[in-house]
């Protein structure tokens, strides 16, 4: 705590500043904890916004062509005359829901918020390696987010070509797509700066004695995630630049020759290749799904070890699996393109890599399940969410296998089955893990714990309704209902048998929204009124818990640099007669 005793430090650093003012402390802060909180607040708001878009869409899916009650009149005649959603508006909501949830909600929360706040503390570092860069990452993300939001206000509305922005549709789309591209370039830049910072920090600023095999699994997850962001995002940035050129300079990178739209030949020189976009997009977007899931696994691992009071089962295999998974995720991208006319040899190749990459996920999930075995489990609120993560992610992962097998994918591709599959991964999977993390680290940030009763209400209702939303999607998808349909499939005869599910799913989605109210109340109430707790409320072993509650700002995480003597999960170590041994507690003479 350097502010407390400036005199003691005289001569050590000559440029000792006066305490920074309001702007430097809360807005343009360079402290990883403040930046982490900024990320958390922003990302949570985006998640809420993206979810709201979906709740509006669900009205149209449940009651196609009917006026949206209460709020319908606010969307304006261009979007919803008489409160009835137009197809163009539906497409905007769908594209923006996907984009916002993935790039503005989950990743910033999982990496920007949890990574930023927790990782440096867990490795015993005073801050990130490059604090200024860290601040820039946040603000570029913020600008990117505002850019995305602003596109709803321009003529023609927001991007409407899906979060995948497939060409040539996206090239000839309205101006919203250009804004989307600029927004994406901001978000990519922000992620790149962030990942450089994360990797450098983990390699360079680990505390004394904290070897790689003593790193908490969460840190490993963040490390691999950062490598994915670092090396997979640039190809999408390249693709974004090419699409911008197509839209603004009239080039034809993604425009095939002789394209005719609504009977009109297009004024493009042609010669491009729409599939090039898909290649580059999925070169990022497959690793991106691991960006969405790995930090979640990291959070769950921490919480499970802590609440079973047992070391993780197979820590080393989990680490190797994570590294292997990160690497493999670069060679599976074309499993999203089985139906683009590729031959059987290449299909088989990507089918094989896809099956291989499922193995490390299974290893991690199995290790987490086995960690429960024989533990004296504390059913705390974070633990409930972490426990729910396991089967939910399991469903998401297992339903992915048929999609990775080319013959099955012919039937399932682009149906609601796909939507069900990846939402099981990212919603009751990742989102639940993120909630678990919020409940778990809340006491570290605020010094108070969140209320358990409200937490349990939040958990059980969310759990019930989220399954109510996504489980029927498998049924619809297997029946052949396509995704991204304005009327949810009502115009197709093959969909008639499963249309009644739409109302049920929508009601569940709205109830899921209501189920978040206890969380929101709990969150704000606990910040000011929650029960005060000690620095190490959960009796945890990792370093962040040996730092003071809401550690002092300005690179002041630890009063003295911590030293590490053992692995991350020394719970109930045999023969010691203790419940847990913190990583930085020196060995006692026996």
């Amino acid at each position: 705590m350097s502010e407390a005793a400036p005199g003691a430090h005289a001569g050590v650093h000559t440029d000792h500043h006066a305490p920074p003012g309001f702007w430097r402390t809360y807005v343009f802060s360079q402290d990883h904890k403040t930046i982490g909180i900024q990320y958390a607040i922003t990302a949570l708001l985006f998640l809420l916004f993206g979810f709201t878009l979906m709740m509006i869409m669900r009205w149209q899916l449940a009651y196609p062509g009917q006026s949206i009650p209460f709020i319908g009149k606010f969307f304006g005649d261009a979007n919803a005359p008489d409160g009835v959603m137009l197809p163009e508006f539906y497409n905007q909501l769908g594209a923006m829901h996907g984009t916002i949830m993935v790039f503005l909600g989950v990743v910033p929360l999982a990496v920007g918020a949890f990574g930023n706040y927790v990782m440096p503390l867990q490795i015993g570092a005073p801050d990130m390696a490059f604090p200024k860069l860290n601040m820039m990452s946040y603000w570029i993300y913020f600008v990117g987010g505002l850019t995305m939001l602003s596109s709803f206000l321009i003529p023609g509305g927001a991007a409407a070509s899906g979060w995948t922005s497939y060409a040539p549709l996206s090239v000839i789309a309205t101006a919203g797509q250009t804004v989307w591209l600029f927004g994406m370039i901001c978000l990519i830049t922000s992620s790149l700066l962030g990942s450089v910072n994360f990797i450098t920090t983990i390699f360079q600023l680990r505390a004394k004695g904290l070897s790689f095999m003593r790193l908490p699994f969460f840190v490993w997850a963040q490390l691999v995630t950062s490598f994915l962001l670092l090396l997979a995002f640039p190809p999408l940035e390249a693709a974004g630049v090419l699409q911008l050129m197509d839209r603004l300079a009239g080039t034809s990178f993604f425009m095939p020759s002789g394209l005719v739209v609504s009977g009109q030949p297009l004024a493009y020189s042609g010669g491009g290749n729409p599939l090039l976009w898909q290649h580059l997009f999925w070169f990022l977007a497959h690793p991106e799904v691991y960006v969405l899931i790995l930090p979640a696994m990291g959070i769950v691992a921490e919480i499970i070890a802590n609440n079973t009071r047992k070391p993780l089962w197979g820590y080393r295999s989990m680490v190797s699996a994570t590294v292997f998974l990160g690497f493999m995720s670069f060679v599976v991208w074309a499993h999203h393109m089985f139906l683009t006319g590729m031959g059987t040899v290449i299909s088989s190749f990507f089918q094989a890599t896809t099956m291989i990459i499922s193995i490390p996920s299974i290893i991690i999930l199995t290790a987490l399940f086995l960690s429960l075995w024989g533990g004296s489990i504390r059913f705390t609120t974070p633990m409930l969410f972490a426990l729910a993560f396991l089967p939910m992610f399991g469903i998401g992962g297992l339903t992915g296998l048929p999609l990775g097998l080319a013959p099955a994918d012919i039937h399932l591709h682009d149906t609601y089955y796909v939507i069900g599959h990846f939402h099981y991964v990212v919603a009751p999977g990742t989102l639940f893990a993120l909630f678990a993390g919020l409940y778990y680290w809340f006491p570290k940030v605020t010094g108070r714990k969140m209320n358990d009763t409200l937490g349990r209400i939040h958990f059980w209702f969310s759990f019930a309704f989220i399954n109510g939303v996504f489980m029927p999607m498998f049924i619809q998808g297997l029946a052949g209902v396509s995704r991204r349909l304005y009327d949810g499939g009502a115009m197709y005869s093959h969909a008639q048998g499963v249309m009644h599910l739409n109302v049920f799913m929508s009601v569940c989605a709205w109830c899921l929204g209501l189920a978040q109210i206890p969380f929101i109340i709990n969150f704000f109430w606990s910040i000011w009124k929650g029960k005060k707790v000690s620095d190490n409320y959960w009796d945890a072993t990792t370093l962040e818990w040996s730092a003071a509650t809401s550690p002092p700002m300005a690179h002041g995480n630890f009063a003295t640099p911590p030293e590490v003597y053992r692995g991350p999960y020394e719970y109930s170590p045999p023969g010691s007669g203790r419940d847990f041994l913190p990583q930085n507690k020196p060995e006692e003479a026996r």
Partner: protein
Amino acid sequence: MEIPYTVEPRPDTGVYNAKLGIWLFLASEVMLFGALFSSYVLLRVGATTWPHGYEHLNIPLATVNTVVLITSSVTMVMSWASLAMKDIRKYRVYMGSTVALACVFLVIKGFEYAAKFEHGLYPSGSTFLAIYFTLTGLHGLHIIGGIIVNCYLLGPGTRMWKTDPARFTNRVEVAGLYWHFVDLVWIFLFPVLYLL
């Protein structure tokens, strides 16, 4: 607690923070240009016809530009070497030349672009031109970025030489790594766009 290893290397990794940081950044740049290069290959292989670079582009100008950029890389590395030999005066000369050469590169590039536009050759004309303008344009943006950084190190940034010379030398080394990378990209762009 100050952030460690900003100047001296961490014993077990052997590098200081910024050195690792810039290499990671360059790794991502490799993937950026790699993706563009791979797009180029995909489009070229798929095209029915593809012009030779020399039919449309000005090889002598590009050769001069290659020489200019390589020279600027040498002056850049010399500016770092001068600092390592504690010679701030020479550093100024070399860094100044680096910036100047970078500007010459941009001016020549500007003439090249202008000539293309005069002949009605725009990015929208053909996939070849699209690739040419996009790749050289993006490379040009990298040059501009380098000029800004180097100007900072030549101007206000030099103050650090007085307070923390070791750290300043590191900064110049890191800026140099970036600059050599920009040179390296051009070394590939030149044959790929102009000569083939």
